[in-house]
């Protein structure tokens, strides 16, 4: 283990050299054969693999410290509570959130956005109010707003994308106005890899409206340094499992004043102060938004993931993924019939490549790649609005993480030649 939590004092850590071939040894799952070939995992935009240090953190919590939080007087409950609250502070600091009260643990990005929609949206939105979304959004940043708009009479408006998959930002000022109550958009596109200029967008929104800005950071926090304060947004959502953490844990960060103004999302234990027959009063932040026993192990696992990512270095991760993206686009261009989607400028992208290959359907491509031990995603990627813009019912998507190597890319290129051999 090069960076495992069990060996934090090893000399290699004093002068960390970024080497994906070494880092991948920290990920037990990557060391296996699939269909008699060494596994090549290129479905990281769907979920990432977990380093041994995260698996160890989960196991040692359940082996030694498991208890409910914020309830018991006993020692195990104290330990679990400390570990859970330390995790909140740790994960918050990772994205520049200095006040742990502003860090709400959720099931993931989807629940974070739903929390905003059902708590803030249902409370505040009125007939004629406008919510501005973009054509680039994942369904998790579309459907909650459609549901709340139906109940409140609010209207959805859309910022479109151009043929390269960049937001048409020139149109943004015209879409904003007094009726705009919320602008909710993705930081990084899960289909095209487009990295949106969030700080500039927030600036434009502030100039032309009083709208809140919510950012879907599910594809950003795992891959590039993110500081929610310097982005200037009001709320930011992300998922643990896309950044080496466990499934079922994620974060909604939002400004304290905003969270204070919002009613609870779910009711239950943990989120109350006093319960009487006539009504109840709410716990302080962040507990007001965490009804029921939270995903304690998940939060602890995510904290271990953040420790791991910080030791690798987010800047190094972003740099490596750019190098890999450039290498992959160069080599994929040599496959006859390859058509890559997304911005031409690599600087505007993260490590995601959606593509078409001749008349081979993405499902067939994915089956053939799987038979060569290579995991990619085929389908609409929960972004049917993007697909409609591209005029494609589905694409094949390869998405990288820091443990992927140029060898992985070479294996994919070779397998795509097999696809060409079958489909011509």
């Amino acid at each position: 283990m090069s960076l495992g939590a069990t060996a934090p004092s090893r000399a290699t850590l004093a002068t960390p050299v970024f080497d994906p071939a070494v880092l991948r040894r920290d990920f037990p799952i990557l060391d296996q054969e699939v269909n008699s070939r060494d596994l090549v995992y290129l479905d990281n935009a769907a979920t990432t693999q977990k380093p041994a240090s995260v698996l160890t953190a989960l196991e040692s919590y359940y082996r030694r410290d498991n208890a409910n939080v914020h309830r018991g007087i006993h020692e195990l409950s104290r330990r679990a509570t400390v570990a859970y609250e330390d995790a909140r502070a740790r994960v918050g600091r990772f994205v520049g959130a200095t006040d742990p009260a502003e860090v709400i643990f959720t099931r993931g990005t989807t629940e974070s956005i739903n929390l905003m929609a059902w708590s803030w949206g249902l409370d505040v939105l009125r007939e004629g109010d406008e919510i501005l979304l973009t054509e680039m959004e994942h369904h998790s940043n579309v459907v909650p707003w459609q549901l709340v708009a139906q109940r409140t009479g609010a209207t959805l408006r859309w910022l479109e994308i151009d043929d390269q998959g960049l937001l048409e930002l020139d149109a943004l000022p015209k879409l904003l106005g007094q009726r705009t109550r919320l602008v909710s958009l993705t930081h990084v596109s899960n289909v095209l890899g487009t990295v949106n200029p969030v700080a500039d967008i927030v600036h434009t929104v502030r100039e032309h409206s009083d709208a809140l800005v919510l950012i879907d950071g599910a594809q950003a926090v795992p891959h590039l340094p993110v500081d929610v304060r310097s982005l200037g947004c009001d709320a930011y959502a992300f998922s643990g499992h896309k950044m080496c953490g466990p499934t079922g844990i994620g974060v909604l960060w939002a400004r304290r004043a905003l969270l204070d103004s919002m009613p609870p999302f779910q009711g239950g234990g943990e989120m109350i102060r006093v319960v009487e027959r006539e009504g109840s009063t709410w716990a302080d932040l962040p507990h007001k938004f965490e009804a029921g026993t939270p995903n304690i192990a998940g939060a602890i696992g995510l904290s271990a993931a953040v420790d791991y990512l910080e030791r690798v270095g987010m800047a190094a991760i972003a740099r490596h993924e750019h190098e890999l993206l450039t290498y992959a686009l160069d080599h994929l261009a040599e496959v006859p019939g390859f058509r890559g989607l997304g911005p031409d400028q690599v600087e505007l992208r993260s490590g995601v490549i959606s593509f078409a290959l001749g008349d081979a359907h993405p499902h067939d491509i994915s089956t053939i790649l799987d038979s060569e031990g290579i995991a990619v995603r085929a389908g609409h990627h929960c972004a049917q609005l993007v697909m409609r813009h591209l005029g494609l019912p589905a694409t094949t998507r390869a998405s990288f993480y820091f443990y992927n190597t140029t060898d992985d890319v070479d294996r994919m290129v070779t397998a795509l030649h097999v696809v060409k051999g079958i489909f011509g």
Binding site: H361, H363, D364, T367, S371, A378, G379, I422
Partner: protein, 161 residues
Amino acid sequence: MENPPLKSLYQQLILEHYRKPKNKADLPDRTVEVRMTNPVCGDEIVLQLKIEGDEIRTARFAGQGCSISQASVSMMTTLLEGRKLADADGIATRFTQMMHGDESAGGDRTLGDLRALQGVSKFPVRIKCALLGFDALLEALKQSGHTPVVRDEGDEEETTP
């Protein structure tokens, strides 16, 4: 292609039906039309049948999707014309059995070109693709007053979009 399961999956006959599908056209005097989609992958089939009495006179389809779903529906339509509704139902039953691993179905002449799809049974995640056209057929038969026989549908796959 060295990979034997892959070779049996992508038979030449399947690729021919994918590239040049049979009966892919509009049927203006249809008596029934059924649209089936697989929300997981976006594959889509619109099956149009002209049924007179208890017999299928004409079968046409429109659709988009992977080679397996499109070849399967193309092959299926070539078997339907002139069939009694109960016989069409029988083909669906036999084909479903083949998808769920019944090897004897692979030698059943009533399945025609569909026998080339036997290799799909070795790829569990692709069985739904092969059955999409038959899902449309069974729904069309139901809407036309035919009660399909009860069959073992096998394990339903849990998937999320």
